[in-house]
Amino acid sequence: MAHVRVAIVSEPLDITSEMERVTAGRGDIGAVVTFTGLCRDEDGRLEALELEHYPGMAEAEVTRIAEQAAGRWDISDVTILHRHGKVKPGEVIVLVVTASKHRHAAFESAAFIMDFLKTHAPFWKKEHTAAGAVNWVSAKRSDDDAEERWKTAD
């Protein structure tokens, strides 16, 4: 079974140390895929995103998603780190790292995790614009469709 690491944090994420932790001292990993989700500035319109989360459930749900991925693909390590609180444009919101002997398992499990984080992880984004407006980001229909494809796959 894969090693699973999940953390919901308010500090900036350190990608390098996560990648090094996954591969250090191992000779059986042939492929590492990372996904980094960054806060965009929306053409300068956005000043910050505020990420609200459901403490307790966020950790539990993200862990369930990691374990689903580990059960479905032959991966040796899966890391999911998610920010909460205020995030500035250019900063990392979410980091997923999957490691496997083979590249397709690493790619597919990381893509699966991201699709499920979008629709299942209890986080809500509030935009703070440079003009001073504040509004909740709406969920995207395309994210539901993205999740749906994993039901017919295999």
């Binding site: 307790g56 919101i93 979008k118 992880a121 809500w124 980001v137």
Partner: protein, 83 residues
């Protein structure tokens, strides 16, 4: 039973959490949504479109027809926008 609210559901209801005594007739999540809507304008505004409301029972996603007997904490929130 403890109820918790997030994002615009929380803002419209005007509280992040509360503990309630439920009438015996409230057996499912859907029943609970209907009962909450009678509790004031904030609740009614927050829960006006039940299809837009997601629910978790004790930290796990649940449908509106799920039964709530034995549950400690029910959460109501909009569709998630993390990741």
């Amino acid at each position: 039973m403890k109820l918790v609210y997030f994002a615009w559901v929380r803002e419209r209801i005007g509280t992040a959490e509360e503990t309630v005594e439920l009438p015996k007739s409230v057996e499912t999540v859907g029943d609970l949504l209907g009962w909450l809507k009678t509790r004031g304008d904030g609740y009614d505004a927050a829960l006006a479109e039940p299809d837009a409301i997601r629910v978790a029972l004790d930290h796990d996603h649940a449908d509106h027809d799920a039964r709530i007997a034995g549950v400690r904490e029910v959460a109501f929130f909009p569709p998630m926008t993390g990741g």
